[in-house]
């Protein structure tokens, strides 16, 4: 019974966090969670981190440049 209570509290906390963060917040959380969970191979972990970082950079530069064009700055 105590375990069920703990589980119910945990689910309530997760739902509350999801409500506060919104869909994009959840997406960021999942991306970071995936990034922070490393496999056993150091080289593969480093390669995956670099790939994820570069993908984020490309997206940042693309959205900022698109915004600049849109607003004319």
């Amino acid at each position: 019974m105590a375990k069920l209570d703990t589980l119910a509290k945990l689910i309530a906390e997760i739902l509350a966090a999801v409500t506060v963060a919104g869909p994009s917040g959840v997406e960021l959380f999942l991306k970071l969670e995936s990034l922070l969970s490393l496999g056993p191979n150091e080289q593969a972990n480093v390669a995956a981190a670099i790939k994820a970082g570069l993908a984020a950079d490309a997206e940042t530069i693309a959205v900022v440049e698109a915004w600049k064009q849109q607003v004319g700055v």
Binding site: V20, F29, K31, L35, P40, N45, A56, V64, W67, V71
Partner: protein, 154 residues
């Protein structure tokens, strides 16, 4: 934006503490690369958030522009860093000064933007949100710099 800001601060804290590996300890080199990738992902999320807030009419183009210019600088510096790090730890150690200079640029420009008087945002709550977002990026740059210096020693 407020929700996103709280999330960014929270995720920055999680990122710093919570790298976990299936087997064996997390190496300093893994820590540098993973925290650096997290910085890029959080930077992307902040940029999208600032654009959304501007498009919703909460802030003006003039207020959003310096923040977004900074996000773009962070992304470009990060690409330069990744290009060095992708060559491996031995190659990176020969470019230690450049790595530290790029991380310091991210840190110092963010700090300067925060200290520039609230980025032209009059509303104290909005001003605080921007400051927290930028501080999150600055803090992560400091963490990566410390990680890198530790990795260099080992």
């Amino acid at each position: 934006m407020r929700q996103r800001t709280s999330l960014v601060v929270l995720l920055t804290a999680i990122t710093v503490g919570c790298i976990h590996k299936q087997s064996g300890p997390v190496s300093p080199w893994e820590r540098v690369n993973v925290n650096l990738a997290a910085l890029a992902q959080i930077n992307e999320d902040i940029a999208k958030g600032v654009i959304a807030v501007q498009q919703a009419g909460t802030i003006t183009v003039q207020q959003a522009a310096p923040v977004l210019n900074y996000q773009e600088t962070v992304a470009k510096d990060h690409v330069a860093l990744e290009n060095i790090l992708a060559a491996g730890s031995a190659q990176a150690s020969s470019q230690s000064a450049e790595i530290q200079a790029l991380l310091n640029e991210i840190k110092n420009q963010g700090t300067a933007l925060i200290q520039s008087g609230g980025l032209g945002v009059k509303n104290p709550k909005s001003q605080q949100m921007f400051t927290q977002d930028l501080q999150g990026v600055v803090n992560l740059a400091e963490v990566v710099l410390a990680d890198y210096q530790l990795a260099e020693v080992k």
